[in-house]
Symmetry: C2
Subunit: 382 residues, 2 copies
Amino acid sequence: MKDFTCYNPTRIEFGKGKEQNIGQYIAEYGVKKVLIVYGSERIKKSGLFEIVTKSLSDKGIAYEQLGGVVSNPVMSKVYEGIELAKATKVDAVLAVGGGSVLDSSKAISVGALYEGDVWDFFVGKTSVTKALKIFDIITLAATGSEMNAYGVVTNEKTKEKLSLGGVVTFPTVSVINPKLQATVTRDYLAYSAADIFAHSLDMYFSATYLPEFIAAHTENILNTVIRTTEILLENPDDYNARGEFAWAATQALNQSTFTGIEGNRYDTHFLEHTLSAEYNIPHGAGLSIIVPAWMKYQKKYLPERFKRFADKVFGLENADAGIEALINWYKKIGTPVTLKEGNIPEEDIPALVDKLMAIAKLWLGSEYYTKEMITSVLEKSK
Amino acid sequence: MKDFTCYNPTRIEFGKGKEQNIGQYIAEYGVKKVLIVYGSERIKKSGLFEIVTKSLSDKGIAYEQLGGVVSNPVMSKVYEGIELAKATKVDAVLAVGGGSVLDSSKAISVGALYEGDVWDFFVGKTSVTKALKIFDIITLAATGSEMNAYGVVTNEKTKEKLSLGGVVTFPTVSVINPKLQATVTRDYLAYSAADIFAHSLDMYFSATYLPEFIAAHTENILNTVIRTTEILLENPDDYNARGEFAWAATQALNQSTFTGIEGNRYDTHFLEHTLSAEYNIPHGAGLSIIVPAWMKYQKKYLPERFKRFADKVFGLENADAGIEALINWYKKIGTPVTLKEGNIPEEDIPALVDKLMAIAKLWLGSEYYTKEMITSVLEKSK
C-alpha cells in the first residue's frame, strides 16, 4: 500500500424527491443567495426548476440564474457566470444538471472570488484556494463531479479542454435522485457508461502498484456498470438499477479507487479531451473510441493486469479476449469504437498528434506522452 | 436503492511515518493545546510518544496527557479525561492507540464541552452537538473508529456497554501507519479480524434490501480480511498485507457498506457488548463466539443471502457449509467460537438473557430483541 491522503467532505443526499429539500440543505450552511446554473430550458418544462426555486424561496434563499451550459462546456459561459455572480453578489452556486453544468459551476465559484482570468487556474498559473460554496442536483450520472473537486471546461478559443480544482471545490451537498436521471437518452446512457468505464480503466491499467482490495473494488464498479446499463437499456425506469448505476458513477471518481495505488495516469482522458474539444463529440463517445486503442497499446506494460481484467470482468482467459469483449460491449450498448464511427477524419491524425503534444506539458509531460505513444494509440483507433 | 445521506469529513493520512507529521496536521486546524490520550506505557518505551510530542512541540502545540485506557474502555477513565480537559483548557484531543483509546477520546471530547454527566449521551437523554476536535494515530486496525463518528464505552458500575456520537465526533484527521500496527499480537490480530467480519456481517445478514454493488463491496472487505490475516499470521511484517487489512477495517464501518441498504441491524454487537462488559473478554473474541450462533438463527430470514455468502466468500454451494467454513476459519486463526472457549459459564445464559432484555430498548427494542431471539442465539453459542 502506497501512502495516501483521503479527504472527501462532500455530503451526498441520495434518493427520491431529495431535490425538494435543496433549500433546506443550502440554508444549513448559512447561504442567503445562490446562482442557479443549468443547461437547456428543459428543466423549466419538466418542472424541476420550479421545484428548486420553490424550495429555495421557502427557506428565504434568493437566487439568480444562468442557463445555456452545453455538453463539453465552454469558457465563454463560465465568464458570463463569473460576471453575474460578482454583479449579483451571490454567496454560493447551485448546479442543476449534468457534469457539464457542475463543472462550469465549479469554475464560476472559483472565478467569482478571483480578480484575474479564471483560465489561470486551468493552465496552472495559480492554484485554487478560494471558492464560493457549491451545491448541485446532478441529473446525469457519468462524470463523478458530484463527489470530487474537479471541473473540466473547454477554452473554445484555444480548443484546450482542461481542469481546475482544489480542496475548496468539493461540492458541499450533492443531491442524487436516480429518478431525475431516468430521462437520459439511450445514447447518453451509453456515453455515460463509457465515461465511468474510462475513469476506472485509466487507473486500473496504468497503476504500477494496485492493491488487490482496490483492484476488486474497481472491478465491482465495472461489473455494476455493465449489469445496470443492460437493465436500463431494456427498462429505463428500473429505479434500483438507475440508483446503482449512479452510485457506481460517483464511486469511480471519488478517490475510493485511488487509495494506496501508485503510478496511475489519465491517459485516455488526456487523449480524449482534445477529440471532444476539436470535434465536439460527446466525451463518453470519444472515450469508447480511445479506450480500446489505448488498451492495445498499454497491454505490454501490465500483461497480468489485462489478464485479470478479462477474467474478472468478462470471465475470459486472456488479455486480448478481454479487450475484444469490451469493444463488443461498447458496440452492443451503441457507443462508437473507431474514429470513423465518431465522424473524426482519419487524415486528421497528424494534426491531432501535434495538438496533443502541445498540451502534454499540462498533463504528464512530453517525456511520457511522446509522439510515438500518441500516434500509436490514434492509429489503433482507426 | 434506498434513500441515504453519506457524509464523512474525516481526513485520512495513510502511510509510513505519517505520525511524524501529526503536529502539522493539528496545527492546520488552529489547535494550540491537545490532550494526548493513550493506553499502556508501551508507547513511551517504543518511542512513539516521543515522536508525537516532538512533532507537536515543533509546531508550538502544547499538550497534556492521560494514559491508562484499557481494552473495553471504561467510563471512570473518560470522566478523568473530561476533568483534565476542562481543567487544562485543551482545545482538541489526540488519541494515540487502538479503538478503545479513540472511543474514550470521543467521549472525552464531548464531555469536555458539557456541564452534565457525559453518560447522558450514551443513554439517549440528550444528543451530541458539540465536541472538541478529535485527532488520532490508530495503532490497531479493527473498530473502524478512525473514520466514523461513534465511540463505545463500558459503564463499569452498570455493566452497560453503549455508544455515543454525532456529526461533530468524526475525527478531523486520522493517521493510519500500517507499520505501527505490526506489533499487535497474534491473538489480537485474530480478534481484530473477527471484529471487522462482524461489522460487515451484521449489515450483510440483516439488510432486507442490499444492492448487488454493496453486497460485492462487503464481500471484497471480507475476502481482503481473510487473505491478509492469513498472510500476516505467517509474516507479521508484510507491509502491503498490513496496509490492506487496515484499510479494509476502516471501510467496514465508514458508511461505505451502508449506502442504499435497508433494514440493517447490529445484532451481534448488541449481543456481544454485554459479554465483554460482563466478562471483560476481548470484543473480537466475543464476536467470533456470537456471530456463528447468530448466523444459524438468522439464516431462515435471508436464505439466498446466506447461500451467496457461502459462494462469494468461501466458494461453497450452500448456506450451512458457509457457516461451517466461517467457524473453521475462526478456529484456524485462533479466536474462540463457543462460550466455553471464551470461558463464559453456560449456566450464566439465563442471567445474560435478562441483562440483554433490559438494555434492548437502547438498541432496537424488545419487539425485535425478544427473549426467544436472545435465548436462541446464546443457546446456539454453547
